[in-house]
């Protein structure tokens, strides 16, 4: 169980939600890409808290810095400035090996393009992760959770986009991660399939209590979240809580 170590701070996204332990605490995050002559400011000072077990949607137009933020939270990337804490661990103080350990034990990723290994079956793709985790599910169990039990031995090329994404989700949750980070998981899918995938993510969040952050630029999806954080041009533009969460099936796209 993750201890509440950080007291809510006024003025920070999420800080108005007292009483729950913060999993992530980010302060003053900036990220600058140097592209030859020009500097691209992907993040221009982001303060953010994410809480234990909550379902957060990151909303914003393309290029607003959502992926950059998520990658930093997931330990895939490091900010140019600012600090990030995961529980009592400062990610920004970790070296490459520390970040790898952090990703290995705490984070599950789901990507827009699934990033499955095409030469491995669904089961093997999941096993790829369970083999290096401390207390994983069995791959079969994880695939059953996403309703793919019968397709376990199929290769990615034999699965539809939605099925591939569900394998990716099974792969992400099989290690029983503390946080599940999804970057436009439905971006490459049609509505129907997208809803199935979102449903799986919501269920994982609900049943396993995994803190979940989902990136999208589809505002409709926001209704299924506990909180919606909107980014615009590298800054947090707006944070709102949903009093009532809508289930994915009821979303209107």
């Amino acid at each position: 169980m993750i201890e509440p170590v950080i007291a809510p701070v006024p003025g920070v996204a999420g800080a108005n939600e007292p009483g729950r332990p913060a999993v992530f605490r980010a302060r003053g995050l900036t990220k600058v890409y140097h592209m030859g002559e020009v500097d691209v400011h992907a993040l221009r000072g982001v303060d953010l808290d994410l809480y234990q077990g909550e379902f957060v949607v990151l909303l914003g137009p393309s290029g607003s810095g959502k992926s950059t933020l998520l990658n930093i939270l997931g330990g895939l990337d490091v900010p140019t400035g600012g600090r990030v804490h995961f529980c009592d661990q400062e990610l920004t103080a970790q070296d490459e090996a520390g970040l790898t350990r952090y990703r290995r034990s705490h984070v599950g990723f789901v990507f827009q393009f699934y990033n499955l290994i095409p030469s491995l079956t669904a089961r093997e793709n999941v096993a790829l992760v369970t083999e290096i985790s401390r207390q994983p599910m069995r791959p079969e169990e994880a695939l059953q959770l996403v309703n793919l039990g019968p397709r376990m031995d199929h290769f990615p090329a034999q699965l539809s986009g939605g099925e591939q994404q569900r394998v990716a989700i099974a792969r992400a949750i099989s290690k029983r991660p503390d946080v599940l980070l999804c970057d436009e998981p439905t971006g490459a899918l049609d509505i129907q399939t997208g809803i199935v995938v979102l449903d799986v993510i919501a269920r994982v969040n609900r049943e396993l209590g995994t803190t979940t952050a989902v990136i999208t630029h589809n505002a409709a999806i926001a209704d299924m979240a506990d909180r919606v954080i909107s980014l615009f041009d590298g800054r947090i533009a707006n944070v709102r809580g949903n009093a009532v969460k809508v289930s994915p099936q009821e979303l209107r796209w």
């Binding site: 990337d77 090996a97 990703r103 393009f113 290994i117």
Partner: protein, 787 residues
């Protein structure tokens, strides 16, 4: 098995064509390596064992005639452990059914066996028995060449008298592993045989009772060979000593050591080039795999696989390919090494030449090829390790296209749309195109490397046996005589032209370098022994001073105009200074020449000769040979055509055998490289071409786009490859420069043509293979998966 290892296996299976091609290239490198190293080990082991067991002597000396009492004093030289004073005489032989002259070397052995030096290995029959003066042991090479067996007889012509010798046994000697007469370049088992004969009988036949003319000795541990040789020279000088020399200068042993050296070099250069190509191919293929698997690498890292774990995964892929190559190559190398060894048994007479493939050789081959592969792919592996996962997550930015140079020059109209795509594809990725071109150039170059030695050897034979040596027969006389002997020979049947030779044994000294060499005195403007420079223009024989061939000059480290010290090893043994007044090019052996008159003056003697170069009418050859054999003063007769033939049969056959293996490997490599290039082009363009097909392009049209690119790359590669091949050929000639022969840098047009043809055929076949894949392009599948 872990999921990651499964991925590895499936990746290998998926890339089987390319993996196989690279495996084969590595296998070629490993095979040449294993082949030459195992042959080397075998030869070295056999040599060392034989020398040890049969007590091969350490120092040798020949002299004219000395009483046996002198031998006792030789035995007293400090550092001499054991000595053997022998009688050794060369005679003309008459072998039934063989018209040409042959030389027999008669060597004395004790009638009753006593442990000594250079002990014989009895192969067949029995040893000689005391009291039977006609019995001899014959060398195996000669016996085999003439189909003789124990019980057969040969006739030696001793001082004009015929003496029948009965072969009672067939023997081998560590002194004649390579059975060759000093001064000859190649063995000729038909025309030179060694016979071991009882000491009493041999001495009696040559008036050598109580005397000897040859001594060999064994050194005690720690003795200084140089000092022993100096003392030995002092002792033998009054008796016509020709200068003692160590084991390393003993003729048979030197040839064997040269062969070993040659193998050592082969062992270095050819496999290095092959493995270099393999490393290059691995690099190209691996970078392609990596760029195709960027997103997979990112995912692995995102899920907590460490950088090193991911790097190791791809390194394992490399090592798997290496392992395949090593396995294949070791098998092939062992088979070829065995063949080479079997070939050696025909030139080198060992009691046993058992092929050996020590495990260290395989271990070393594995290490070397792994190292080459790792070095070759280090940059790609480093990129894998360094690849930031967030970076890898986003697809590679779309390629930047520009109008090609040709189009910018306003030549757009010249090209069809597909042709424009071909050219833009090539121009867009200059680095990739450069490497593809380089790869195929290497294929061309390796073909040239594999084949040019045929040209070079042809040229060598042409130069040595047509341009330089123009005589038909060379006659050596027993001792220096007046020109009368030449006039006699001039009247022998069929003789057209005779030129004098005065050969004298000397030791040439310059600075601290010393070589034992014959100085050949020739006619002032020799017609039968042309001296030429590198361009094959005649070099005049200077009236004063000495002319060296460039190899000898190089060994002595002496240049034109410098003064050489000549220690004459006969007669009064004068020591003289002489200026190097000319240099000539020869591709075989080392030699020094003077005008005969000038040499006579140097020796303070009147006009005298020791032999002659002769041209003769081929129709009367047999009569001429009969006459020469019957002439007592004729010590030996060398027939040029026979020398040429045996050079072909031995050295050249040997070299060409090795080269044919290399050529075979070169072909394999050429195919490997070209096929890989084609496959990579296919994997890079697959999506694009499938898209075009979906848009309604025909198969022929998309084939043109892909194969056109391959074609343009191939055409670009040809000229580069020809130049590169010439460079590689030049590089190898540096390693094939021995005392015995130099391989000239000669590449015939036909070789260039051959290289081009093989690479074009390889390109065509690869094109067809790729084309077949294009025809079965899975349109939906290709479009569905994200690259």
């Amino acid at each position: 098995m872990t999921a990651l290892d499964r991925k590895l296996i499936r990746d290998v299976l998926h890339l089987k064509g390319q993996v196989l091609a690279i495996c084969l290239v590595i296998a070629c490198g490993v095979a040449t390596y294993v082949m030459s190293l195992s042959a080397l080990t075998t030869l070295r082991g056999a040599q060392a064992g034989y020398f040890e067991r049969n007590r091969f002597a350490f120092v040798f000396a020949q002299l004219k005639r000395a009483p046996l009492a002198v031998a006792e004093r030789i035995g007293e030289i400090p550092g001499v452990r054991q000595f053997m004073a022998r009688v050794v005489k060369d005679v003309n032989l008459d072998v039934a059914g063989f018209a040409e002259p042959a030389v027999g070397r008669l060597i004395s052995i004790p009638e009753v066996y006593a442990p000594g030096l250079n002990e014989l290995h009895l192969r067949q029959g029995r040893s000689i028995e005391p009291g039977r003066p006609d019995e001899v042991l014959a060398s195996e090479g000669f016996v085999v060449a003439h189909g003789l067996k124990p019980g057969d007889r040969v006739t030696a012509i001793i001082n004009g008298r015929r003496k029948d010798l009965e072969i009672v046994g067939v023997a081998l000697s560590p002194e004649y592993i390579y059975q060759i007469r000093a001064g000859q370049l190649v063995p000729d088992d038909k025309r030179f045989g060694v016979f071991w004969m009882g000491r009493e009988a041999l001495a009696a036949a040559f008036d050598m009772e109580g005397a000897f003319n040859d001594v060999c000795l064994d050194l005690s541990p720690g003795a200084s060979q140089g000092e022993v040789i100096a003392r030995l020279d002092q002792l033998t000088a009054p008796y016509g000593g020709l200068g003692a020399y160590g084991r390393e200068d003993q003729t048979s042993n030197r040839f064997l050591s040269d062969e070993i050296k040659q193998l050592q070099r082969m062992n270095l250069i050819v496999p290095s080039i092959f493995l270099g190509v393999a490393a290059f191919l691995l690099n190209v293929v691996l970078s392609r795999i990596i760029s195709l698997q960027r997103d997979q690498i990112a995912a692995l890292k995102a899920f907590g696989y460490s950088n090193l774990a991911v790097g190791w995964h791809f390194l394992k892929l490399v090592l798997a390919v290496v392992a395949g190559g090593v396995a294949l190559g070791t098998g092939a190398g062992a088979a070829l090494g065995l063949q080479i060894t079997q070939m050696y048994t025909r030139f080198y007479r060992f009691p046993a030449l058992e092929y050996q493939l020590p495990p260290q050789v395989v271990g070393l081959a594995t290490c070397v090829s792994s190292a080459a592969a790792i070095i070759g792919t280090a940059n790609v592996l480093r990129a894998v390790i360094k690849l930031p996962p967030a970076e890898a997550m986003r697809p590679e930015p779309p390629a930047v296209f520009r109008h090609t140079v040709l189009e910018r020059l306003g030549l757009t109209g010249l090209f069809s749309q597909p042709m424009r795509m071909v050219l833009r594809n090539i121009e867009r990725q200059p680095v990739k195109s450069f490497f593809s071109t380089l790869g195929m150039s290497l294929a061309v170059a390796i073909m040239i490397l594999g084949r040019f030695s045929y040209d070079a050897l042809d040229y060598l034979l042409e130069v040595q046996f047509r341009v330089v040596q123009r005589q038909d027969v060379t006659v050596a006389l027993v001792e220096p005589t007046s020109y009368r002997a030449l006039h006699e020979i001039a009247h022998f049947p069929g003789v057209v032209h005779v030129e004098p030779i005065r050969a004298v044994s000397t030791r040439l000294r310059f600075g601290h370098r010393v070589r034992r060499t014959l100085i050949m005195g020739l006619a002032a403007a020799p017609e039968l022994n042309h001296l030429v420079n590198l361009q094959l223009h005649t070099v005049p024989l200077p009236p004063d001073g000495i002319l060296l061939n460039t190899k000898l000059a190089q060994l002595l480290n002496i240049g034109l105009g410098e003064t050489l010290t000549v220690e004459v090893l006969e007669g009064a043994r004068p020591v003289r200074q002489i200026v190097v007044a000319g240099l000539s090019t020869e591709l075989l052996g080392t030699a020094a020449y003077m005008q005969i008159g000038s040499l006579n003056r140097l020796l303070r003697e009147g006009p005298s000769v020791t032999g002659a170069h002769v041209t003769a009418d081929a129709l009367e050859a047999e009569a001429l040979y009969d006459r020469l054999k019957a002439t007592p003063r004729v010590a030996s007769v060398t027939i040029k055509q026979a020398a040429l033939n045996s050079f072909r049969d031995t050295v050249i056959k040997n070299l060409l055998k090795l080269q044919s293996f290399n050529l075979m490997f070169a072909c394999v490599i050429a195919f490997g490289v070209v096929y890989n290039t084609a496959r990579i082009a296919l994997s890079e363009r697959g999506r694009e071409l499938a898209t075009l097909r979906v848009m309604g392009f025909t198969r022929a049209e998309i084939s043109f786009i892909l194969l056109g690119e391959l074609g343009v790359l191939t055409l670009q590669a040809l000229p580069v490859g020809l130049a590169l091949g010439y460079g590689l050929a030049w590089f190898t000639t540096l390693f094939l420069d021995t005392e015995m022969y130099r391989i000239p840098l000669v590449v015939n047009l036909s070789t260039y043509g051959f290289a081009v043809a093989v690479v074009l055929v390889a390109a065509l076949l690869s094109g067809l293979l790729v084309r077949r894949r294009l025809d079965h392009l899975d349109l939906i599948g290709v479009l569905k998966t994200r690259e």
